[in-house]
């Protein structure tokens, strides 16, 4: 009997063991892919970059003079009193590194296959774009040892200036790759910025080089980045005819709206987005625009609902602990939050024109040379001169921000509710009719003819006017770029917070490294020494 039982048991066990190999093989994940394609990675990474620019820098936008915090809420001590901790305003650290990881993977995959040269070049350009944001925010960051998770869990920090200089070389490299990529696959629709038009990428790369050079030039005017500008000048730059704008196919469906619009406009159910309620117009910018007779004040900001149907634009004072409630202030206007399918701008033509204008004024690029944009010649300026480029920037900004649009009351549906979908959610509702580009351009020309400093070229100190108009042109959509320029130039002089409990007279020069670095990379971070947000400046700041 014993024998039989042992035999039965053995047979039984053996039966199970024999199928063990297949039975236990569970390595294919039915829930998520472990491979990707260059197209899938590129489309996602570009959209993520655009979202970061649109959504990670509202706090910095308060310091750049673009937003004030709503009186509906308990005052925000970080934004108004500057008591920053390692958990504040540094979400972009993780967003960018996560995003750049995808470009890095794409670059590595594409480098192995010559037919993917265009993908490789775009990945390099976008890495430069992202790393510039990181350096501008944190100065020294991991760069040369980044993205080495398999071999190095503790990447050392590189100097901000060294990173800047290498980014210039990387951009040159990307330009060469594109120029020599014959017969390479076009990224096509997966390139949600230029739709596979590699000339666009060349100009984007070249404009990025210009942005790096201008940023560094204030302190290091003879840095190689600056002196080398002429070498790629002939490629040309972004301008009013070519912005770097991403659009994967935004639509008025929950989760698929343009990111800026879903925050500052309305959600898919036509109710106000969170940023619209929280960030209100700033009194300083509203007053500045009004003093310049600038029609953009009516498109950049929405009318105050409690004054409606009178169109009144009113902002809060920066840091006012008794800030007015939302019905008494303006929200971001319909010229910025235009529609759920609007493009996400990575680099605006207006900004590129102002950068070119500065390069000409500073003598980094020769006035009127071939690679420069034409700019605005309607007022008699010669193409490619500082004035034409400056005025071109203003015109581009007027068109982009829909200066000259009109407001009208919304018809009632008879039950007290609006009869039609509305453009912005401020109560009571109104219908916004955007202008044609020609209308905006004409308004710009009139505007530029004013003999007002920082408006009309003849009446202005060139650099001051360029900086001021660039600040206006970057309103809302580019709070980070504006904050960078504010820290570089100090123009315009934005009044500081009036919060009596502020811990420093002026806003921080930078933010702190995030808590995650403190806990995961402490040794390397420690080598950066103590960071004081009021005195530890980014390397390019004077």
């Amino acid at each position: 009997m014993k024998k039989y039982i042992i035999i039965v048991a053995t047979l039984f066990t053996a039966g199970i063991s024999s199928c063990k190999k297949d039975y236990l093989s569970q390595e294919v994940n039915p829930n998520a892919p472990s491979v990707t394609t260059p197209q899938l990675t590129l489309a996602a990474a570009l959209n993520t970059s655009a979202n970061i620019v649109a959504s990670d820098y509202q706090g910095q936008g308060v310091w750049a003079g673009y937003f004030t915090t709503s009186g509906n809420y308990v005052p925000n001590t970080v934004l108004n009193q500057f008591n920053l901790t390692t958990a504040d305003l540094n979400g972009d650290w993780g967003s960018w590194y996560g995003n750049l990881t995808n470009y890095n993977l794409l670059q590595n995959i594409a480098a192995k296959d010559p037919s993917l040269a265009n993908f490789q070049a775009i990945a390099i350009i976008m890495k430069a774009y992202g790393f510039q944001h990181l350096v501008d925010e944190y100065n020294d960051v991991p760069y040369s040892q980044a993205f080495q998770s398999a071999t190095n869990l503790f990447p050392a920090y590189d100097k901000g200036q060294a990173i800047y200089e290498d980014l210039g070389k990387q951009l040159d490299n990307a330009i060469k790759i594109i120029q020599s990529a014959t017969g390479a696959v076009s990224p096509g629709s997966s390139d949600i910025v230029f739709g596979g038009n590699m000339t666009g990428w060349l100009k984007f790369a070249n404009s990025l080089k210009l942005r790096l050079a201008i940023r560094i030039s204030s302190k290091f005017p003879s840095d190689a980045l600056v002196t080398d500008l002429a070498s790629t000048e002939s490629i040309g730059y972004l301008d009013g005819n070519l912005d770097a704008e991403a659009n994967p196919g935004y639509s008025d469906v929950s989760g698929k709206q343009n990111f800026f619009y879903s925050g500052f406009g309305v959600d898919a159910n036509n109710n106000p987005g969170g940023n619209e309620v929280y960030y209100r117009a700033p009194a300083f910018e509203v007053n500045t625009l009004q003093s310049y007779n600038d029609p953009r004040v009516f498109s950049l900001f929405a009318p105050v609902s409690s004054d409606w149907p009178a169109v009144v634009i009113r902002g809060n004072t920066f840091g006012d602990p008794l800030a007015k409630a939302n019905p008494l202030t303006s929200s971001i206007g319909p010229g910025l939050a235009q529609s759920s399918s609007q493009n996400s701008v990575l680099f605006s033509g207006a900004e590129s024109l102002f950068l070119q204008a500065e390069a000409v004024v500073q003598g980094y690029l020769p006035s009127g040379s071939a690679g420069l944009s034409t700019g605005n010649t309607a007022n008699g300026a010669v193409a490619g001169t500082a004035q034409a480029l400056y005025e071109g920037g203003v015109v581009a900004s007027f068109i982009a921000s829909q200066a000259g649009g009109t407001y009208a009351p919304v018809p009632d549906d008879g039950t007290g509710n609006p009869a039609t979908a509305t453009q912005t959610p401020t109560t009571p509702n109104f219908v916004w009719t955007p202008p044609t580009a020609a209308t905006s351009a004409a308004l710009a020309q009139t505007y530029l003819q004013q003999a007002v400093p920082n408006v009309g070229w003849a009446a202005s100190v060139p650099l001051t006017a360029i900086y001021t108009q660039k600040w206006i042109a970057l309103t809302g959509l580019f709070p980070f770029e504006a904050w960078n320029e504010q820290r570089r130039t100090g123009i315009p002089a934005i009044p500081t917070s009036v919060d009596p409990n502020k811990v420093n007279p002026i806003p921080p020069y930078r933010v702190l490294y995030p808590t995650s670095e403190l806990t995961t990379n402490a040794t390397n971070l420690g080598k950066e020494g103590t960071i004081n947000v009021f005195s530890s400046k980014i390397f390019w700041a004077k």
Partner: protein, 1072 residues
Amino acid sequence: MKKLLLVSLCFLVLCVTQVFAQNRTVTGTVTAKDDGQPFPGATVKVKGTNSGTQSNTDGKFTIAVPPGGSIVITAVGYVSQTIVVGNQTNLKIALELSATALTEVQVTTALGIKHNSKELAYAASTVTPKDLTQTNVTNLANGLTGKVAGLGVFSLDNGIDPSISINLRGFRSLEGNNGALIVLDGVPVPSQTISAINPNDVADVTVLKGAGAAALYGSQASNGAILITTKRGSADGKPVVTYGNSFQFQKVAFYPKLQNGFGQYGGEPNYIDPLTGFTEQVPYENQLYGPPFDGSIVQEGAPLDSANGKVIHAVYSALPTNPIESFFNTGYTEQNDISYSQGKSAENSFFISAQNVTSTGVVPNDKNLKDAFSVRGHTTYGIFSMDYSVGYTKTNVSTYINNGKNTLGLGGGFTNADLYTTVLQWPANLNIKNYSDPSSDIGNPSNFYDAYAINPYWTVDNARDNYERDQILSQLKLKLDPTKWISASYQLSNNFGIYQDRETKQEVDFTAYGISDYFHAGNVPSGFTSGKSLGQVYDYYAFGDGTSNGYNRIEGEGIVDFHHNFIKDLRTELILGNDVYQQYRKNQTTGSSQLLIPNLYNINYIGGLISGSEASYTIRQIAYFADVQIGWKGWLNLEGSFRNEHDSRLSAAERSFSYPSAKLSFIPTDAIPALKNNNILSFMKLYGSISQVGNINVGPYNIYNTYSLAGGFPYGSLGGLTANTGAVSPTLKPELTKEIEFGAEISFFHDRLYFNYSHYSQHDKNQTVSVGTSIATGYSSQLINVGETLSYGNELTVKGDILTQQANKFGFSLEVDLSNNEGRLLSLIPGTNSLSLGNNEYAVVGLPFPYLEGTDFQRDPQGRVVVSATSGYPLQDATGIHGFGRTTPEYIASVKPTLSYKFVSLSALFEYRGGYVVYNALGSTMVFAGSSALTAEAGRQRFIYPNSVIETAPGVYTPNTSISVVNGQYGFWQGSNFSQTQSPFVTSGAFWKLRELALNFNLNKFVKESKFIKGASITFTGRNLFIWTPKSNIWTDPEFSNAGPNGTTPGVNDTNQLPGTRVYGADLKLTF
């Protein structure tokens, strides 16, 4: 093969014939010698066999005995008797109290093997059904609370369907599961399935505390195991019907201390009297920093609508009942249980039970309905036997949707406002009951008085989470006992269920007047300029174990047990086994936030796109195990076990791993003649064990990096993938726990005083940890095997029969359970010494884990708070994170006195937990709201921050005796760093609770004359009647925490945890 079958068959037939030919039936009555009363539940066995039965409620039994055979009658706490049957047909047995009452118990151990507790070489505690259900718990886990030293029951909350996890001997895995394995009738079941088991069906529960005791279950039982054995049928041929009914009330009892002196104000500049600078009451505020109550008449909310302008007024003074007591209902629970059992003997028996539990919660509209049916039995046919059980449980729960309960991603719109938060910030002068109809003119969303909150009654009426669990637990065990020394069994089990969850939110149509925002306050309706918040529906279906994310489990387990004593006095047993299981689950969601038709919650009628998802997971494991036991004369016992596992979650190279264990026990009172029959020292056992077990903390498919759909994608036909930020690796291995355990069991004075002590130490290596890495590496975390932890502790049980109950006299017994658990993280990857576990909790090298850390004020070297020399407000320490303490109890103690007199008994259970801290995030909410009593402690006057200093020069601190806070109202409590700093809300988590109180009347003797009713009892019960906490804890019951049931981060509560409740009621049990 054919021949083999034939031979087996012949053999069977022979055996069976033999059995049937020779047995004869005897009946008998068992009584207790001390009081002469019938003795139910005594085990009657034929000597030398496993065949046996139990005495019924009249003490009677029937058993088949071979000629010349003897029967053995045993009962816990009584001396065993062996009776040679001879020609007798009606036996009378009187049992005598045993000298070793507490130490000779049959204990169910791993794989369902019954052992005499004397032989065990590890800590195993048994909880009897009486102890388990003495206060009519509806969840078995609650019944275990405080009953076993070293066992901790953690409640996620005390809502209508609380999640509970059971932990043994503290935490050892940093990020993996620390929950005990639940084994039902020999089958491992998912931990949350414990709520599906009818507590009244349980015959006994054995708690195997250590990894060693449970080593045969392998990796699943690295955290110990709870073995639940359910009832089988009666054994005396007569049908027994029991019926039980209990009714219990639940009332909110322990809630945060509230201020009742001040009304609404929240920093509005236009509500400051320009002449006096005093604040005025703000009719629409959700913060309570207004002027003191003065009995005047004030306005509440905006005029009702623009047409009639009706204004709501309230007296500006506190109502007698606070909003918390007014809002929460008295919940009730009614349980009806019925069971039927019949059988000729324990070998051939049958049991059916049915249970219905209906509960309503303290939150209006909360309901929980549970129906459970089970059929079980045991059939023996010669050398074959079959044991089976099938249980079906259906649970329907309906509850409100809250921030933390909104599990399916119902989002946006109107709204995720927190129900309890709104109640917590309700002004003391406003009657919350007036708003109980959310469609009334003052209760509706457009007119609600509070500009920034949702009427909580709207939430309970219109934002609902309805879910349903259908759970089937089934098991079939076939056994063959061909000879005395060998048995073989095969057990098949399938536990599965379906979970269906639907969350809905009703459409709200706002009036134009509401949207127009009368006060220009930025009120809730003004966020809905479209005029509507559309209805929402989200559905979740899961096939698995019937809970939201549990696994279906199919398992086959074959065991061959050889037990033959080759040499006299040397007991030897060898068990060989094979175990194969598959776990599977699949879940899908569909939802929309844009329902077209109000009240039609159907995914077909929506605007926009359906949001949906699916996932499925399979886990497979094959294991082989062996267990050898050697005993010498009963006083020296050695057990060795070995298990080898192959698991599909790991890559082929890492898949196979083994667990050895060795255990030794020695009984000096039996071994040493001088100690035998000693009147003082009745029993002594010393034991020790060493074991190693693994714990697979790698999820299925979690060894290769994956990509996921990037946010927003697909846009039309354009897809986009992004790399996941958590990196994994195919080289992952199981965690390894090495456990050393030793202990002693000693009893004195004929067992009237009993001690059981054990010490354990667990050393865990290769922890599977998601280590945070700089995202600059490309990934924000890496799942790797790293980190060592140490966990050790002591458990002591003392039982004393202080007064032994003789007939009609007082009896008093006392049991005390004490345990402590110490642990710490020994090492992590070089370069980091802290691992974030989430929920503000960390594992830090050298400290116990999880360890609460958070923000604190600046402090001088003496720990005094540094305040600003100008404002008097405390300064926040911006530089770092401050450690507060461990979040799991270091000490757990329970005290169980039982007093009895005649037919009445009173028993109580007090439980203490201490040595840990709790972060009351709820406190921060209440300071924001201005409703906490803390905010009124200084009467809203300026005050000097207690024990504070001023930094007069760098590093020079002077005690602050003169700088009071510039504003003692809104300014300090809201405008300073106070409410945004965590340290003010961290308190000791210590508490004493009167867990259970039961007053039982055993009416058996009064119904004895009735032929119909055989037994009756009435019990008055109470659970969690009182709680005592340190004075510093003005917040809430520290027991509840917001981390998931198997999460490693308890110790943080917020407004998702409802206030503590007490439960009391009565039950009636009848036996027919």
